[in-house]
C-alpha cells in the first residue's frame, strides 16, 4: 500500500474563490449599504420606493451581482466548515454538489423575487 500523503491530490481552487468573493463583497456590500441606507430617506425604503429602486438598471445589476457573490461566498464558507466532519472523498464531492445546488436555488429565489417585485 502506498503512502496516501505522497500521492498528488487534485488541485483545489476553493480558497482562492473564497478570498476573491470576499474582497468582492467588501466592495459590493459597501455599495449595497450606501445605496440602501444612505441614499434612501430615513435609511429605509417603503414599498413604492423599493419597486422604483429595483427598476433602475444599474441597481439591478449591482444587486444581482451582490446576490451571486454573497451566495458563492456563503456556500464556500459552509463547505469549509462541513469538511471538518471527516468525510470520505465521495461524500466531499456530494457535499460540494449539494451546496452548489443550494447556492443556485438561493440565487434563483432572489432573482425570481426581484422579477415579481419589479412587475
Amino acid at each position: 500500500m502506498e503512502n496516501p500523503f505522497a500521492q498528488e491530490p487534485r488541485a483545489s481552487s476553493s480558497w482562492l474563490w473564497q478570498v476573491i468573493t470576499g474582497v468582492g463583497l467588501v466592495l459590493l456590500l459597501g455599495l449595497h449599504f450606501i445605496a440602501n441606507h444612505f441614499i434612501a430617506k430615513g435609511g429605509l425604503r417603503d414599498f413604492a420606493d423599493v419597486v422604483a429602486y429595483l427598476r433602475s438598471p444599474i441597481i439591478l445589476v449591482l444587486e444581482v451581482l451582490f446576490l451571486v457573490v454573497v451566495a458563492t461566498h456563503a456556500m464556500l464558507g459552509m463547505r469549509a466548515l462541513l469538511l471538518d466532519f471527516g468525510l470520505s472523498e465521495r461524500a466531499e464531492r456530494r457535499l460540494s454538489q449539494a451546496l452548489t445546488a443550494v447556492g443556485v436555488l438561493t440565487v434563483g429565489y432572489g432573482l425570481w423575487l426581484t422579477w415579481v417585485i419589479i412587475h
Partner: protein
Amino acid sequence: MTLLDVTLQIFRYKPGEQPHYDTFTVQVEDTAHVIDAIDKVWAEHDHTLTFRRACHHSSCGSCALRINGVEKLPCIARFSEVWDGHSPLRLDPLRNFPIVSDLVVDVSGFFQRMSASTMTITRDAESTLPLSVDDLAAVVQPKAVELPDNLTRFNRFENCIECGICMSACPTMAVDNKFMGPAGLAAIYRACQKTDDPNEKAHLLALANGEHGVWRCHSAFECTEACPQAVDPAGKIMALRREITANRFKKTRRS
C-alpha cells in the same frame, strides 16, 4: 541550591481502562526541568507510567507533551518558567494523535506526512516496520537518498526536530484526519528549497496544493506560536500558497 516539592497531575490511559489523572509529588532541584520530575515519578512512584524522552536538550523531539494545556518540550521547560509554585502541574499527551498509553501518542501518521516530502531519513530496518492504527495506515516506502560520488554521509540542516507540537496545536489537525499538517507542509517547503530539479519542485508543490493541503489552513498561527525551534510552519504555508498561486497565473498566462 533549593529543592522544590512539585505536584504533577498526569493523564493516564491504558487500553481497556477509563482515562483519568493521577497525582504525584516529587522533590526536584529548582533548576530542574519538567522531564526530570516525570523521570522521578516513574522511578519513585509508578513504573507503569509511560512516556517518551531521550536527548534532554530539545534536539530529538521525543518528549513533546502539554503542560497545563499548552504544548511544550518538558526537557527544556524549567519549573521556574512553567510552574506557579503551588498548584499541581497538569501533564497531558499531545492533541490530535491517537493515544497509545499515558503520555505516549501514536506518531506513525505524523511520519507518513513527513515522508511524503522525503524529509525523514529512514533506515532500511525501519522501512519494513508496519504502521498502525490510523485509518490511513500504510507501510512507508522511503525514497532512496542519492549521495554525490564523493560523499558517504551528509547532515541535514533545518530547524524542525519532528516533535509534533505544531500538529497538536493546530485546530485543523484537530478536525481533519487527511490534513497534511503544519509540519508536513513546512517540510514540503523546506524540500522545495533544497532541490534544483523543477520536476521535483512541481511534484512537491502539487502535494501541498490539494483540498487537504495548504488550503485547509485557517490562519490560526498556533503552530508558529507553539514551535520550540522557530520553524514558523504558518509562514511556510503562506509562502507555499504564494508560490502555488503565482505558478497558476504563470501557467494561465502562458496558455
